[in-house]
Symmetry: C2
Subunit: 358 residues, 2 copies
């Protein structure tokens, strides 16, 4: 077995979820991740815990999605019962074909998502982590040779996470007490937000492996200005490129895209919350140095900023503040490595990819 | 997809377990059975039920078995909770390497088996079926080319099960009221049993797919005579060949084997119940026409008789009769297709593989 797989397994069980003999562990994994599952079972055995693995099987899921009547979709009680007794969840991504489910009816897809909601809510009560096993199909999506994608994944994962957390904590220390944030990039982006009273979240790889971002939530009616996204985003199978949003009093009042503008319009029209921001994130994992069409990595890419339309990250919003709610949470990225700056309360915190504190 | 896989899936969901919209279905399947799982998801979707699949992953199970301290082994609450909410279980066999778990410590293996017992007891409360997906490794064990093994499996599975049940019911009608059974084969087998008051079980593919046997349970102190087994049996990784047992008052009083006699001795010494019979089975699936070193098939082979040492089939034993109990249930086979007869209450019921009623 590739030694990097063993190291990855160790990070997941030791650093991300701290598996102990008290734990029932649920792994969810696709066929190509067989080696990672094997390595995880060895670690979980070492730690005296109890694993089981749900087979993530996109061809089967697609066959089910095409066969089931959306009106018949219901929550699976056996999955819900298992999750309620689960202490640790390790979710492994890794496609054989990223388009495996692309011909399932959107109505059925939505019904299945709603039916899974109680299982998801139980999962969020566990110590969970989402990670990536490198496959050929995901390498193709990243426009990389398979071996290069493997190196990219393991470079992003196998790092000194304590040092990364300390690095990110310095930005948390700036954002926690901050009132305003301004993002300027080129001639097309100048967005002003209030984050007054909001918490800042240091994602150093506990929930996402790789981690590597600091996130907060804009005050719901505060966004003003224009933001142009440098990196494409895929929604409902369509790649939106060159998207541009103009905000007034927190709401999108104008939008455009160079490609698939209709998909952007549909996204904004999902519900009221979809026109407001639910997250401001700053990517700080510099081993992620290129866009790979994979949000688990892209949103942590060093020297990028992303905002998410839609559902807000609840952990950053105090109980007495309004929480933006939506059926969507769509991350959109700006490259801030050149001709860009991030200002906090009028002070430049990052300029052309370099933080003031480094 | 191979159309035989679709037909197999249909037999499992429709005939064996009668999946309906009320059902939460648990599949347990290994990697090679991916197509069968896909076909099952389509059928389960058609029927409005909810599937989940536990990945049977022998390499991972072996890694866990080698890493865990046997004293740390405990029942997995999440698996138990899932099983308690499960209505239908479809267990799929199919090895990539039949020896994948052969270097796990026997003590750990026994501890894992004991810890799984509550999950097994819950599973027996569901509508469950065990079946086979044909793989290259299992073909090798059967001493067949992979394509020939596939044909063999699908011939045994894809049959007219209602006709098979009716055929077997004729033997049930003979055995249910019977008092004595005598099995004679060549010069080496002449075994007399009482089945007085015991039930007869018609296995026409509900719990095992393929099915194809009629089974009953000998009265615990009734076996007398000698039985010589024509087909080898593998216990603890060792193949016992040419085994011969002599019974008096239901108990083995003499035993020998041409090969691996020590393994046969160890089997008999497991506990008191291991020296007595827990089953008499008559194989009636004539599409199973050769020994394949796979008990799911071998015990249903047409024109064979098997007796099992050890734990008795409870469904055949009335509550007021003694039930032989043991940690083992070891099936041993006699070929009755030539120079053989089965007598019930002194009447010949089968001679040289042909039943009197056919």
């Amino acid at each position: 077995m590739d030694d990097r797989v063993r190291r990855h397994a160790g990070i997941l069980t030791d650093y991300c979820t701290d598996v102990s003999a008290d734990d029932d562990v649920l792994i969810r994994a696709p066929t190509p991740a067989a080696d990672l599952v094997e390595a995880l079972y060895e670690r979980i055995g070492d730690r005296g815990a109890r694993p089981t693995t749900e087979w993530r099987h996109p061809r089967a899921t697609r066959a089910y999605g095409r066969a089931i009547d959306p009106d018949d979709v219901r929550t699976a009680d056996h999955r819900l019962a298992a999750m309620a007794e689960t202490d640790v969840v390790i979710l492994i991504k890794g496609a054989e074909n990223d388009a495996a489910g692309s011909d399932v009816d959107p109505e059925t897809r939505a019904a299945l998502r709603r039916a899974k909601r109680p299982v998801l809510d139980e999962r969020l009560e566990t110590r969970w982590v989402i990670t990536q096993y490198p496959t050929a199909a995901d390498a193709q999506r990243a426009d990389l040779p398979t071996r290069a994608w493997e190196e990219f994944v393991y470079d992003a994962v196998d790092r000194d996470w304590d040092a990364q957390r300390a690095f990110q904590e310095r930005l948390v220390d700036v954002l926690e007490p901050a009132e305003t944030v301004r993002i300027v990039s080129g001639d097309d982006t100048d967005l002003r937000l209030s984050v007054d009273g909001m918490g800042a979240f240091n994602d150093a790889g506990e929930d996402n492996m790789p981690g590597g971002e600091v996130a907060t939530v804009p005050v719901v009616d505060s966004a003003d200005g224009t933001i142009t996204f440098d990196l494409p985003v895929v929604r409902g199978g369509r790649e939106i490129r060159g998207a541009r949003l103009t905000f007034e009093d927190g709401e999108v009042v104008d939008h455009a895209a160079e490609r698939n503008e209709a998909a952007l319009t549909a996204l904004l029209d999902t519900d009221d919350g979809a026109r407001r921001l639910g997250e401001l994130g700053i990517g700080m994992n510099r081993d992620i140095d290129r866009f790979t069409n994979n949000l688990l990595f892209d949103e942590k890419m060093g020297d990028t900023v992303h905002v998410a339309l839609g559902d807000a990250m609840a952990e950053c919003v105090p109980d007495d503040r309004e929480l933006n709610e939506s059926a969507v949470h769509a991350d959109l990225l700006v490259d801030t490595s050149e001709d860009s700056r991030i200002e906090v309360d009028g002070e430049v915190v990052q300029e052309n990819g370099t933080f003031a504190f480094e």
